[in-house]
Structures are given as structure tokens and as C-alpha cells.
Symmetry: C2
Subunit: 182 residues, 2 copies
Amino acid sequence: MTAPESDHDIESVIRSGMTETPDFPSPGILFRDLSPLFADGDSLRAVAAALLADHESVDAVVGVEARGFVLGAAAAVEAGLGMLPVRKAGKLPGEVLAESYALEYGEATIEVRPGILAPGARVVIVDDVLATGGTLAATVRLMERAGWEVVGIAVVIELLGLGGRAALADLTSVPVTALIAL
Amino acid sequence: MTAPESDHDIESVIRSGMTETPDFPSPGILFRDLSPLFADGDSLRAVAAALLADHESVDAVVGVEARGFVLGAAAAVEAGLGMLPVRKAGKLPGEVLAESYALEYGEATIEVRPGILAPGARVVIVDDVLATGGTLAATVRLMERAGWEVVGIAVVIELLGLGGRAALADLTSVPVTALIAL
């Protein structure tokens, strides 16, 4: 019998699978990359399981392009669920729902195909980093417009200095889980 | 006891999880989208397992941004492996290896972080569609430069009219598996 995985364990897994690169992609940004974590089978599975640990009765995982696709698909397969892809504008064919959100300069748009899940489906949105929360807030709006219930947002890393949790709380009552806060 | 999954079964799973949209993203293109397949847990897991079914002694799955991230992570978790991300140019920090390849107009570049896997690691490259083979050939070159052995390329859909399999065979002896040919 093995002990249940503690918060400390998953934090160690994340810290040892993450690199920090200063001034990337622009000066003043400390960029966290999870390539080493993704490439390690035990770490990927541990994080995939931890992302959904707080949620029951979930019908599907939502993955946001592109790094959210890695974590979303991993979490989905680990839980025996499917992963609904939310894509950058122009990638999905046919009828789509679109939401735009502000970036530091300009704006970005994400899209989803409606009707892929059943009406009222309960979903958890998964991504790697909660920064300002703009992408995640737009994803919540997309899901609501599609008729699906967002029961949680789960990220690997929350960047405390960027106020994303407070920004999301102003826009939605969806609970936010972060496996590590930096 | 359940019977092993036949080729016919996986082909049915793919056909029922795929949509075809004419003239997207440009006139004359029939675009296949696997969002419905990804969003269904049983289908995602069946395809994830089938992609690696021909391979043993694999150390990691390689996923190519962006749809390859969904399938790569799904296949990796299903097999208890990690997924090495191959990204579009400019997304990965620090030292990267880069390979460019021709598109219909212009060219594209993909990158990987070296040293993430052990020297000589055996990898299978996973993607959704084999079209002209340009991205996959560039991915094979990246892996070889990084010191990893590509033991297979596995895609969900092979588009027979675009000659990708022959183009890949001219460049590499890596075996190519497609779950369905259209």
C-alpha cells in the first residue's frame, strides 16, 4: 500500500520538471517551461491525476491550445474522459463560437466547435499557467455560450504576481485550483 | 474477456469521430477535424492505444504542436510514458535545435529542447494527419540531431493523394503507421 500523494510531492515533481529562463520571450519575463516534466512518464501522469483530483462527476476536460493540449489530454486519458480542444482563431472548421480577450498589445481570439459535448456537460478547463487569466476567462465564456457547465479551472502553475486569480474571481465563480504558486 | 480491437473497429471509431469540411482553410481543401473524437473518452483512449500498438521498448512519445500534443499526450499516458513536445519556432526557451521545411508558400520551423531525453532514447513520433510529410520529416531530423532514435511514426489519418509516405521513405527508413488511409 502506498501513501496518498501529498501536496509536497506534486510540488517537488513540478519543480524538478520545470526550467526557468530569464528574459524570454521578452526582457523582464521569467519563462517557465514544462518540457522536462511532460517528457517524463511518471511526472506527466502524476500531474495529470493531480489536476483533476478535486473534481468528481466530470464529463470532459477542456484543453486550451497549445500547452493545455498536453495537460488536457493527459488528464483526460488518466481519468478515462475525452478532451475538448479550444483552439486559436482560424484553426477549427465549420460553425464555431469565438471569444476575444485583451493582450498586453492587441487581442487574441479562441474558438470552439459547438455541439461536440451534450448540453449541460460538466467540464474542467486545464492549462499550464495562470498568468493574467485572460485566456481562461475567455474559455469560461466560450463554454457557457456552448451550454456546458464549467465546474473547475485547474492549472499547474499560478503566477501570484499577475493577479489572475482575482481577475477570474471578478468574472466567474468557477473554483480555480493551482498545483503550485510562484 | 473482450476480443482484441480489430482494424475495422478503430477505423469505425475514427470515421465516427471525424468531420469533413470542404474548402477549409482554403478552396479545394477537404479539412478533417478530430475534435469529436478527442472529446469522447473511449474514442480518445482507443486511438491513443492503437497509435503505439506496433511498438515495443519505447522510451517516449514525441508530439508535434498543436494537434500532435493531444494525441501524443494521450498515447503517452495510455502507455505510461512521457511526451516530448516539438514546438513551433520561438516558443521554447534557452538552447533549442531547429529544423525548417517547405510549405506551399514559404517555410515553417519547428524546435525542440536538447538533453530532455537520455542519449539514444527510443521515440515514436505521433501526429494527427500525414499529408505531404514535411513536418514529420523535419521532426525525424530534429530527433536524430538530438541523439534520439526514431523507431516509428504513427498518425491517425494518412491522406493518400498527397504522397507523404513516399516522401518520408525518400528521407528516412523509419516505419510509418496510419490508423486509416483516406
